[in-house]
Symmetry: C2
């Protein structure tokens, strides 16, 4: 299948106008590098609290960066209050991890909380406010205080017009999938490609929750959760934590001769929002905030879709994989699902997607996911992605979505 790049062919009316102002990158801003990463295995960690998970990722990242301290800690998390009874989480993590007295702050943007923390950390370093910071994403969703995790996740949607009416977050995605399948005449297993690809890649990721391959037949026999969405369309409820250490290019943190891999640079960082409720959108199948943040991040990086070597997209449900491919600009509306069926998104394909298993197979500890994506992109760019290595990966795009498209963060990483 030929590669479709850019919305230009769809006519300008389908495009959001990107304000020129928002594309400016102030010349005074510093270049920001990722010099260390850490991650826990994703899964059901019944023996670990949210603070134990956080500590594990923090320690790994500091070790990997060859540093012992940071100036500030940014923590992405959505549900520590609802499921662990703990707010003031960033101070709690700083205390528990031995980073006492440093600035520490929690960011929340539903399932995009991790990328929100990455963006705040990026801003703090780019501004010159801090020289070196730690960004953590962490979520503890299993073996919790007895609260209902599904209900807690519903808080990502519009409380008054969606959740209180009885729709779960999964059901909202099922409604979007129902509409998509109907509008574009998608066959029964039409969206299977995203999950099959994710599981194939997850097999080789030692941090992934599901390390087994699935087939189209498995998908077709998978139990329906909310018609037409089935178990194998859905990312799992799980625990996990991931962390990255950021510093300014030119910082003394980078001059340590013992470092053996090259730092990765954050070339683009952008955020956008959309209506919280799906029914408020002029087109329920259009992820406007994905479009907007993609365009801004690419413009900041001075790159085009053709330059992107791999894409970590937000495949919390397979329908989001298809809609993301369309909103990012790789596929025309209604055709995203086809790309997953034709090898296009394989490691060896034109645009490798979910290269370490994505949300579906690696797992989706919601507030941690955005930072897992960053960790995985760094591994790809450093050539350390093992069996899942994308050949000659030099530029990666990672995208984290909060709610059913309401909060979107796009980052471009390069080496």
């Amino acid at each position: 299948m030929g590669r479709f790049v850019g919305h230009g062919e769809l006519g300008a009316s389908w495009l959001l106008e990107v304000s020129k102002d928002t594309l400016k990158r102030d010349p005074g801003m510093k270049k920001v590098c990722i010099i260390g990463t850490g991650q826990t295995e994703v899964g059901e960690h019944w023996d670990k609290s949210i603070l134990h998970l956080a500590h594990e990722a923090v320690t790994s990242a500091l070790l990997d960066a060859h540093v012992e301290s940071v100036d500030a800690l940014f923590v992405g998390n959505m549900l520590s209050g609802a499921l662990s009874g703990q707010e003031n989480l960033a101070a709690a993590v700083a205390d528990f991890s031995g980073l006492r007295n440093i600035e520490a702050i929690k960011t929340e943007a539903a399932c995009a909380s991790g990328a929100a923390a990455l963006r705040m950390g990026y801003t703090a370093v780019a501004s010159g406010l801090h020289d070196r910071v730690l960004v953590l994403g962490v979520e503890k969703m299993t073996n919790t205080l007895g609260h209902d995790t599904t209900a807690a996740l519903g808080m990502a949607a519009d409380a008054v017009y969606e959740t209180f009416q009885g729709v779960s977050f999964t059901a909202l995605n099922a409604l979007m999938m129902q509409r998509y399948v109907w509008q574009y005449d998608v066959p029964d297993t039409g969206l299977a490609g995203f999950s099959i690809n994710a599981h194939r890649n997850g097999c080789h990721n030692p941090h992934a929750m599901f390390r087994h391959a699935i087939t189209e037949e498995d998908y077709s026999r998978s139990r329906v959760i909310s018609s037409p969405l089935c178990v194998l369309d859905s990312s799992p409820i799980c625990d996990g934590a991931a962390a990255v250490v950021l510093c300014a290019a030119g910082s003394s943190s980078l001059s340590d001769g013992s470092r053996y891999v090259a730092p990765v640079t954050i070339l683009g960082s952008a955020a956008a929002t959309d209506t919280l409720a799906v029914h408020d959108r002029s087109d329920p199948l259009r992820l406007a905030a994905v479009e907007l943040s993609t365009q801004q991040a690419l413009a900041q990086a001075g790159a085009g879709l053709d330059n992107v070597d791999f894409l970590e997209l937000h495949d919390a449900f397979s329908i989001l994989g298809a809609m993301s491919l369309e909103a990012v600009g790789y596929a025309e509306p209604g055709t995203g699902w086809r790309y997953a069926m034709d090898g296009y998104i394989d490691i060896e394909g034109d645009l490798p997607v979910s290269t370490q298993g994505g949300l579906k197979s690696r797992g989706h500890p919601v507030g941690a996911t955005g930072v897992y994506q960053a960790v995985e992109a760094v591994k790809q760019l450093q050539g350390l992605a093992g069996p899942n290595q994308v050949p000659n990966a030099a530029l990666g795009m990672i995208q984290n979505i909060g709610g059913s498209g309401a909060s979107v963060y796009t980052h471009i990483l390069g080496i």
Copy 2:
């Protein structure tokens, strides 16, 4: 009483070492101004949801700044999940307030969530990432979903070692007060001065929840909640929202000739943390993060304690007023309570405190408080504080505490 300034006289060992690195302000950082403010009345808003409150403050601030749009929205909030069933709050506010598609992020640092949002907004503008942003603090604590507000507030403390053992957040403050009163031999109504001062000032603040004066006799007859802490030591559970518009000095937002008041500048911004649990501190009566963030903010502003014309401190409980005066550096350990009894903290005193009623009288809608403090400081600096005007106010310090001293943000505002 003479004015005690600085910890120097207490000996260096009582001081935290302030890293020189953290005091650096990168020369590339832009000067950040506050060009508009908005606030709702604080109280029990049974007829307004959290989004209605947010919208009211956002609209007022935009009107006051004479602007219609901003590049990004930073929302300080602690309990929207627990009490309104709504996370992804920043996207929700952007949507509900007609600021569709802009970057929007929620920050959480317990009761210091508002100041955390202010600091993130400050960083975004100082870095050059955005030209103009809106910072909102909002909390809806009354007439909620039926959840227990007291239990929700307990999430600011250490879940495992404090809250799960049965201690409420009020009881934690009562324990600190008990220790303080015992250690420093404070008389029964020794801490009354903070509440009396706050209520006296709140009388003239049209946005304050409690607009009546109280006497020492009222205080002495006040019902004990958790010995020795009584009702009149405590800030109320309430609803409210406050907002400020920030822009870079030199921005075109500032050149509008229709503006009739001078912008206020954020001269210093600092954040620090301490152990989450009180029992983990070497001295339970020492607010180490207050010390640290005060020193950093003053150093950044190039100012000393003598230059501060008024202080909005975090008087969620009167004991915190005394401990804050000591940690900031105006009073020696164990003497802070005396300063509130001698006119020192009056509007006409050496160091006016809680000039619009503070948390005790204006009210403490937790995640909104830090932004209320900023709004009130701006009014003081612009000479618009009415009967509570501090004569010739040119430099103000505002300080917001999350948990029992775990997350502290200090900002210095000047004109």
